[in-house]
Amino acid sequence: MGLGALLAAAQLASRAPAALAQTDSQLPTVSKECGEIAAAATPLPHGAAALRDRKQLRILAIGASSASMLGGSRDTMPLLEQILERSIKGLDVEVINRGVSGELAAAAAERLKIEVALNHPDVILWQVGTNDAFAQVPVEDFETTVKDMLQWLRKHNVDAILIGLHYMKQLATHEHYQAIRASLRRIVAAEGVLRIGRYESSEILARTLREEGHPEPSTFGLNEGGYNCMAQYLARAIAVGLFAKPPAQPTP
């Protein structure tokens, strides 16, 4: 990320809490054990419009293991929904889970168009990349699929949030896994969408644990605690995105 982009992200992140406070709402917190998440503050203009016009936000989760992004126990509404409704006063959140485990990006993209047509979501949470990396999908094909889909979503007034690949120490040297991860970063930079970089966050957390002499968990984030952290990251990123003003367009 260039210096300009970093400055813009910092500016947006600082503006969002102020805008939230004006609505008697607060920025969702992320519990200490989850650590910080790598996610630039990216505006969600269509989500913001839904909040302004309907006081309702419809979020559709799709991708490999969508349940893992939503958090919470079986008997309650998804944690993501709970946090957002608690944090943003008067907001009614509806989370629709349409994840199909094991699905590649191409199949998910095909289905996503139908789900958008049927459910009219404001925001899409797309967990993407892990299955494509394991299935050895060529990087160019993956990149084209995801880019095309993001452009389609933009054209149809839907905000997208990408949830990146999992962190696993064992996969740090897996060539294709890292290639897909790099590709996702390129896509995000090109399309200007929000990405929850859980790989980077978990990597930092692992390094901190190592430095403090604690054992590194072997199942990073692959448990209820990890899913709840993901829901907290997402809630925070969405809240910031809903209240962040888009950066001013440079005058010609």
């Binding site: 349409r98 994840g99 394991f134 050895q136 696993m168 692959l222």
Partner: protein, 362 residues
Amino acid sequence: MPRQANAVDFWRGFALVSIFVNHIPGIWFERLTHRNFSISDSAELFVFLAGWSLGLLASSRSAATNSALLVFRLGGRAVTIYAAQILISSIALALLASAAYAFDNPLILEWHNAAAIFQDPALTHIGLVLLSHHLGYFDILPLYVVLMLTAPAIAMLDRFARPALLPLSFALYFAALMVPFTARTWPVEGQWFFNPFTWQTMFVLGFVLSRDIGVGAIVRRHIDGIRIAALPLVAVTALMVVWNWFPDPTALPEPKLLILNGKSFLTPIRLLQFLALIAVFSAMYGVFAPYVPWLTEFLSSLGRNSLNVFCVASVLSLLGQIIRYRYAGSFIVDALVVFVGISLLWVTATVSEWRERQKSQV
């Protein structure tokens, strides 16, 4: 003696091989299966032929004379398929766990909706047994179980109120598309991949068209004309798939599911295209079978033992995915996976028929 090679067994064997390949996402040979040229794929063929087999069973002489016996046999078949689903799901979970340990990669435990089993085993095991929790790519047998549970009702309707069978099936189909509604999964919130309320129509159509009476008889009488009418539809839809000429689903009028192309709901375009496809391709068997007897016999033997072969194919597909992950799927690896996999399907069929022969001799 196993029955002679025939078109139904041949196409069922063809569907089984396609399912095996398609269930290894990313494999090179995936691009050769007919779904690359057709809106419908092997799932439609599999369910249609399951209905066809039911129709043949319902019209057999013993079943025709004894309704109670027919209901008993169909119920028994549903239990067998249910047991098969539980068995292959258990093997799949063990395979995933073994791979996660062997390759020191707990992410593998998350593949194919397995995460819930390992993280919330108490509730999810109940879901597995109730068929409300499905592993990814292991989701067609739950549909088959539900269809077989309804099979006695289908057979009895056919026997005592034949004109009502197809209208009732289509009424449920269109209601599920227009409301819309489907079966829910539990404990992981979601939907069945194959909506049983719409896919039942494919099963019933297989049943009805297998018969020499009613709609089946009408279709047989006019099959040449139907084929001529179906050919352009097959050709145009092939072009639609190859060039991705599908309308933007958001631009379609309501109810959108009546127009768009969706596999989960078996939307009308898929159903129509499938019927056109089988109308055209059902003529092919008689043309090429004499020239490739080895292929005919091979695929027919798979089709004759479809449940056993399907179960082994499902497990081998998962194994194929693990092998591709471990050995970074190249063309050579993919070719080996497909060659060894299909060979093992043949072994499964051969052993199944050998067992049947042994049983009949006792």
